[in-house]
């Protein structure tokens, strides 16, 4: 089966000499919900713009559904719905008129079904009541929804969503996530760029991490977290005593942080350790094994948290 997106050595150097994307080999399997992660300035948006044919790569190739971009843009892009770097609208047009304009721009879209498709796209993102309002009167969240509606004007094989829940309230975020899950269940490949790691963890099957223009890692979400060890954590006021018990049980990397003591969970029998702690008179307020989150994996991989890359 052809990959939805495949790049080989994809690179982009801007005119200032800055290398924004450096030798990217990305592979997004068809049908995946693919999380695209990376700090600000790591080259995510530049990659998306190259995939959508908005900018041309300085080296390498990008294929979408096996067709080269940007050459095959007119064949490929009707199958793709995109939300790139936030929504953009004509402020003096209504929501429905905005969608009609984007739909008219797509020559493969049938004008006879346009009104119906606009109606159902607006309904899917919960904007039916604001369809005839001017876009300039929309709130940030409503604009985001309108941008999503534009991506959903036609049945798509691929959705490229750059931070789709940006500006949405928690309720709206949940709606969009469940919308993404519904679309993915119908077989649509979703390429989701986000800063919200728990969002990626909740909806994505695969993920890739970018850092300073390079691809650090890609794979299924499960394998990304697998590189990190689980930690056993004890909440207790008796830090020193607890640490001594853990060390006696051959625990590795024991650390005391305020009211918490934690160590590598590998090779330890959690129930036996807990009994030993209680037996040694350590007051245990909390006890558990913590699985590493994607956020831990992310920080471990990029080593730069959310700071803007230089």
């Amino acid at each position: 089966m052809t990959a939805a997106i495949a790049t080989r050595g994809l690179s982009k150097r801007y005119r200032g000499g800055q290398l924004a994307v450096d030798g990217l080999d990305l592979e997004v399997p068809a049908g995946a919900v693919f999380g695209f992660l990376g700090p600000n300035g790591s080259g995510k948006t530049t990659t998306i713009r190259m995939l959508m044919g908005l900018i041309s790569p300085t080296a390498g190739e990008a294929d979408v559904f096996g067709e080269p971009m940007p050459r095959a843009a007119t064949r490929v892009l009707p199958m793709v719905g995109a939300l790139i770097e936030g929504p953009a609208h004509y402020p003096y047009l209504t929501g429905a008129q905005n969608l009609a304009r984007y739909d008219a721009a797509d020559r493969s879209a049938d004008p006879r079904t346009r009104a119906a498709r606009i109606g159902s796209a607006l309904e899917r993102v919960g904007l039916s009541n604001a369809a005839d309002k001017k876009a300039k009167a929309y709130s940030l969240g409503m604009k985001q929804r309108l941008g999503l509606a534009a991506a959903l004007l036609q049945p798509r094989r691929l959705l490229v969503l750059d931070e789709p829940t940006n500006g949405l309230d928690p309720q709206g975020m949940r709606e969009i996530r469940s919308l993404i899950k519904t679309l993915a269940a119908d077989g649509t490949t979703v390429f989701l760029s986000s800063h919200l790691l728990d969002e990626i963890e909740q909806v994505c099957t695969h993920a890739a991490v970018m850092s300073r223009g390079r691809l650090v890692v890609q794979g299924t979400v499960a394998t990304l977290g697998a590189g990190l060890r689980a930690r056993l954590a004890v909440t207790t006021p008796d830090g020193e005593a607890a640490a001594a018990v853990l060390k006696a049980a051959d625990a590795a990397d024991v650390q005391i942080e305020g009211g918490r003591v934690h160590c590598d969970a590998d090779g330890l029998e959690a129930d036996a350790v807990c009994a030993a702690l209680v037996g040694a008179g350590v007051r245990v307020f909390g006890f558990g094994v913590e699985r590493p989150s994607l956020e831990d994996a992310f920080v471990a991989l990029t080593g730069e948290g959310f700071d803007v890359a230089e």
Binding site: R49, A82, H89, R101, A105, D106
Partner: protein
């Protein structure tokens, strides 16, 4: 005018769609009610959408309203001035309302019409880039060649609409405030009001055509930047510059090729027989500018990285 062009286009759309979509169901739909279907196809096209977007925009309506107000002010001023009427067109207006059309076009062509066209042309691509809608049109996908063609055609329509706004407003005001009747031409002959009206329409079309070179410059400049206001300023500035170069005698070598060079040539239609050399020269200049700057806009838009 626009009505007739719509029906012509819809007819060609019928034959095209019938040929293109040879399927049974479509044939049935288009042959039973061809007119309705073809109008729907036109209505759904990007070219129609571009015009609808253009004329839904409050700023463009305001520009046209300002253009329409100029003949009104001019007509009232001439009506109130009972002495010292000056010479040329203005003196003729009080004798025949139709001359208000010629006077208004003469007065608006150097400044107000270029201003309106410069704003709309300079905004054509840069405005879309600035508000971010360019990237969504491109991923729709609109196709860069098609987008430029649609933008260019819409500018031609705007030049016509702007010129006819001035002419129609002047015509109505002229009829209300001044007498109507046979028209004495610049060459001294007298023609009927109807024949003069035909000349007025032709002159308005010529004025619109005179703006095409400027529109092409504006379209090109608007592909260079994401800041619409800068593109507008450059486009209007180029018009002013061209006017200045026009008035420097030492530059007579380049003056025949300035796009403002033969702007006044439309008045030659008011002679009998019509004096055509300058009119033809003007159309050649405009065609030259459209070819050069249209190609430049195409080269720029089709190769540029869209980062907005």
């Amino acid at each position: 005018m626009s009505q007739s062009s719509v029906s012509v286009m819809s007819e060609s759309a019928v034959s095209e769609s019938a040929v293109a979509e040879g399927g049974g169901a479509v044939i049935q739909a288009s042959s039973s009610r061809p007119r309705v279907f073809s109008f729907a196809a036109l209505h759904g096209s990007l070219a129609y959408n571009e015009l609808a977007t253009m004329f839904r925009r409050w700023r463009n309506i305001a520009l046209l309203a300002a253009l329409a107000a100029i003949p009104v002010a001019l007509g009232i001023a001439i009506k109130l001035t009972t002495h010292n009427r000056g010479s040329g067109f203005i003196a003729d207006v009080s004798n025949n309302g139709l001359f208000l059309v010629f006077t208004s076009l003469t007065l608006t062509l150097p400044i107000f019409l270029p201003l309106a066209v410069g704003v709309v042309a300079g905004d054509a691509v840069s405005g879309e880039a600035g508000q971010g809608t360019l990237r969504y049109l491109l991923v729709a996908p609109v196709g860069r060649n098609r987008l430029l063609a649609v933008k260019g055609s819409a500018l031609v329509v705007f030049c016509l609409v702007a010129s006819f706004t001035v002419a129609l407003s002047a015509f109505v005001v002229g009829l209300i405030l001044f007498p109507a009747g046979d028209v004495t031409l610049l060459s001294g002959d007298t023609i009927s009001f109807g024949a003069a009206l035909v000349k007025a329409v032709l002159i308005t079309v010529l004025v619109a055509a005179s703006l095409l070179g400027l529109a092409a410059i504006g379209l090109f400049v608007s592909t260079l930047t994401d800041t619409a206001i800068a593109a507008m300023a450059v486009t209007v500035g180029v018009t002013i510059l061209s006017g200045i170069l026009q008035s420097i005698p030492q530059l007579s070598a380049i003056q025949p090729w300035l796009f403002t060079g033969q702007w006044t040539s439309f008045a030659d239609l008011l002679r009998d027989p019509v004096y055509t050399p300058n009119i033809v020269h003007n159309l050649l200049i405009q065609g030259f500018y459209v070819a050069v700057f249209g190609s430049a806009a195409w080269a720029r838009l089709t190769s540029r990285d869209v980062l907005s």
